[in-house]
C-alpha cells in the first residue's frame, strides 16, 4: 500500500522537474523517469500488457524520437528564453485553478471506495488479446490505417522539398 504513495510522490516530483528544467535534454530525461513510474503504477494494478506496451512504446520509441529530434537541432546557444514574470505567474495560477476545480468537484461526489481487483487475470495479454480481436477488431484495423497514414505524413513533412518543383 505504501508502495503506491511512494511511487505517486516520485511521479509528481519528476513531472514537476520536467516542466521546470532549464535544459530540454534534462526535461526529456525526467520525462523518461516519469513514464517509468507510470509503468510501475500499471504493474501495481496488474495491468501487465499495458505495462509492457508503455515501456516499449513510450520509453523505447517516443522518447528516443524526442531525443533524436532535439539532437538534430542545435539549441545550445540560446537554449531557453523564458517568458516574462507576469506570464509565468499567470501560468501557475491557471494550473492551480484547474487543479482546485477538479479536486473540489471530486469532493462533491464524496466517493471513497477501494480499488479492488476482482479478476486477477484482467490485464493479462491472453485476456486482452481475446477482447481486442473479438469485440474491437474493426478499431484495431482502422488504427493500423491511421499509423500508416501518419508514417506517410511524417515522411512527407520532414523531407526537404526538391528543387525541381
Amino acid at each position: 500500500m505504501s508502495t503506491f504513495y511512494f511511487i505517486a510522490f516520485l511521479s509528481v516530483l519528476f513531472s514537476i522537474l520536467v516542466i521546470t528544467a532549464k535544459n530540454p535534454v534534462h526535461s526529456i530525461l525526467y520525462l523518461i523517469l516519469t513514464f517509468s513510474t507510470f509503468t510501475i503504477h500499471y504493474i501495481l494494478m496488474n495491468a501487465q500488457f499495458l505495462a509492457i506496451v508503455n515501456f516499449i512504446v513510450y520509453m523505447g520509441a517516443i522518447l528516443v524520437l524526442f531525443l533524436y529530434t532535439l539532437m538534430l537541432m542545435n539549441l545550445n546557444k540560446d537554449s531557453e528564453p523564458f517568458k516574462s514574470n507576469l506570464v509565468k505567474v499567470a501560468a501557475y495560477v491557471g494550473g492551480a485553478c484547474f487543479l482546485i476545480t477538479i479536486i473540489s468537484s471530486l469532493k462533491a461526489f464524496n466517493t471513497s471506495q477501494l480499488v479492488i481487483l476482482k479478476d486477477p487475470n484482467l490485464g493479462l495479454v491472453k485476456n486482452l488479446g481475446k477482447i481486442l480481436f473479438n469485440e474491437y477488431l474493426l478499431p484495431f484495423e482502422v488504427s493500423s490505417i491511421l499509423l500508416l497514414s501518419a508514417m506517410v505524413g511524417a515522411v512527407l513533412l520532414a523531407t526537404k522539398e526538391s528543387k525541381t518543383t
Binding site: H41, L44, L50, Y58, L114, V115, I131, L147, A150
Partner: protein
C-alpha cells in the same frame, strides 16, 4: 504473479483521481509556462499519460477490460501524433531556425 493484486487492495479510487489530476494540471502548467515547442509537446504527452493511468484505474475498479483496450488505442494514437508533431517541429525549425513559439505569431496574418 499471484500476489501482485494484494498491493492495491487498500487504495481508494479518490487517490488515483487526485494523482492523475495533479499530473494533468502539471502538464497544463507546462504548456502555459514554456516557450520551447518540444517541451510543450512533452507536456501534452504528460497529460495523455495521466489520462491513460486514470482509465486503467477505472478499468480495474469496474472489472471491465474494455478500458485497458481503450488505453492501448490511445497509445497507438499518441505514437502517430508524436511522429506528425515532431515532423512539423522539424519543418518549423528548418524554416525559421528556431523552435521558440513566439516566432510563430506571424501565423495570425
Amino acid at each position: 504473479m499471484e500476489n501482485i493484486p494484494q498491493y492495491i487492495q487498500a487504495i481508494p479510487l479518490n487517490h488515483y483521481i487526485i494523482l492523475c489530476a495533479i499530473v494533468f494540471s502539471i502538464g497544463v502548467t507546462g504548456v502555459l509556462l514554456r516557450r520551447n515547442a518540444i517541451v510543450i509537446f512533452m507536456s501534452v504527452e504528460l497529460m495523455l499519460n495521466s489520462v491513460n493511468l486514470l482509465l486503467t484505474a477505472f478499468s480495474v475498479y469496474r472489472g471491465d477490460a474494455s478500458g485497458q483496450v481503450f488505453v492501448f488505442f490511445i497509445m497507438a494514437l499518441a505514437a502517430a501524433e508524436v511522429a506528425i508533431g515532431l515532423a512539423i517541429i522539424v519543418m518549423i525549425y528548418r524554416n525559421t531556425n528556431s523552435i521558440d513559439i513566439n516566432v510563430l505569431n506571424r501565423l495570425k496574418w
